[in-house]
Symmetry: C2
Subunit: 127 residues, 2 copies
Amino acid sequence: MEKNIPSISESEWEIMNVLWDKAPQTANDIILSLQESTDWKPKTIRTLLDRLVQKDVVGVNKDLRIYTFYPLYTQEKCQRAETESFIKRIYGGTLKSMLVQFIQEDTLSEDDINELRFILNKKPKKQ
Amino acid sequence: MEKNIPSISESEWEIMNVLWDKAPQTANDIILSLQESTDWKPKTIRTLLDRLVQKDVVGVNKDLRIYTFYPLYTQEKCQRAETESFIKRIYGGTLKSMLVQFIQEDTLSEDDINELRFILNKKPKKQ
DNA sequence: AGTATAGTATTACATACGTAATCAAATAAA
DNA sequence: TTTATTTGATTACGTATGTAATACTATACT
């Protein structure tokens, strides 16, 4: 029984990325990390973090006075969930249809394409 | 000078898909289409349509008493814009990183992979 | 002509999200 | 010990979104 991953908003993803990079972290750790990449006020970051906790996407350890936070789902799981709903919404359901478009519209460089060929070929055949 | 495409919400995408399928259409046409795939009330659909008009993603022809609506951007353009921001947010910017994950995690069937190989190989080499 | 009906326009209301500020409690510093 | 500082909890407020309902207006029918 896979439980549905709650939806993570754009800003919340920034927080998650910091936590996936390293966990657990205190709110202050996270604030310091994000101060480099965003111009959010500490209070803002704290709010986002609290919301992730409410959504049960982030867990809190309250044993010490200064709490520490950690992700409750792996990055891969969240990426996959987002991607599936994204592709369904935007491309009518198939990753392939998206790829076809990207390949055909020259979004991918020749190098990218070669690398993809390589990855696809490396992938072992099932039997 | 490319103008930025306004962001289209999840529900609004449903409307857009109907309009991309065929345009122009009256509000009623759209309502009928969506009544098959959703359980939205006509008024709801009308609201979504109006919002798309406000956002300048959909145009209206008011020459006749019963308006007709049509998309102001191609589906490809909107897909691409969404996809770029999506990939940046979720995968740190590269389509490739997403693909690698999907290929490695067996999300794609063997058939899909073969089809991708085919598409990639069909793609003419630039020079 | 009067009324039902179909479109359009306006208004509504709860929840999510972006972006914080204020309030309270506990610890650290003076 | 009194006070400043840090951390956590609660509250705020505008815009977007989901999901409509109500009000107005112009045809269509009786």
